[in-house]
Symmetry: C2
Amino acid sequence: MLGYKQILYMAINYMEHKTPTAPKSIGRQLNFSAGVSTSVITRILQPHDLSLAQWAVLSCIWRNGALGIKDIAELTGNAPPAASRIVDRMVNGGLLLREEAEADRRGVVVNLTAKGEELRVLQFVFEEVNEVLLKDLSQTDQDKLFELLARVEQNGRTWLKYSDD
Amino acid sequence: MLGYKQILYMAINYMEHKTPTAPKSIGRQLNFSAGVSTSVITRILQPHDLSLAQWAVLSCIWRNGALGIKDIAELTGNAPPAASRIVDRMVNGGLLLREEAEADRRGVVVNLTAKGEELRVLQFVFEEVNEVLLKDLSQTDQDKLFELLARVEQNGRTWLKYSDD
């Protein structure tokens, strides 16, 4: 079948082939790990016809009750206009409604419709994702990972604030 | 100025106010940290009129030389069609060109134009970002963070592969 020349050629090619490499970038590794995590929760939510962005908004309200847009934006890590657009679509989709805040608070808050309330069974899917992603990490390593990621986030935020000047 | 009633009211309000909380979700923390990291590099690249997606493609080629779309996709963490679209725009923008691969490889590869080559001074901005984000982490903690993030990524990829069936 293969002559010795072809085999030799393949061997040389194999030895000479350099696998392309990527730099040791924390930003790259964060984005790769976050991307995989988003794929996992997206797949879990798929049968419920819910996106991660929608789940994140519902999650805030399942946990805290009715909230203003500012709180929703902060908790989901979106800018308020982006949070507002997601909420608008979910109001149109019948998952959320806007209502007057209780007497001691001002303005309009976002609350669950009956349909949004029904989906509350999905409140703890983040724990399923935690189990998938952290499954072979000891409790010490898990705590360390959360701690280091929070410090990285804080370092970045401080720099961004400072570099605004 | 303030009557005792107002002060009492404010104090009660203060005590009763519950700060809304978020769940301890690794996916959330990963996305928050990755988001901040993306904001940092985006700000560093802004004066050069370069997006993170464009920088990531250039970074692969600065480091490895001309590459096929499949390698670029893998190294940047994009699906090949998405990588192809980014490359198309960069070809139109004069940063990249497509050329025939060398004799020992097949098909078309993507290479730098003179303009893309000029931007090579930006090859190591990822190290600036590393310094910003990891600045108060010991070398041991930095190594640990990379290791744990790679394990989280691998756990997610394994699950995604398995859950395809």
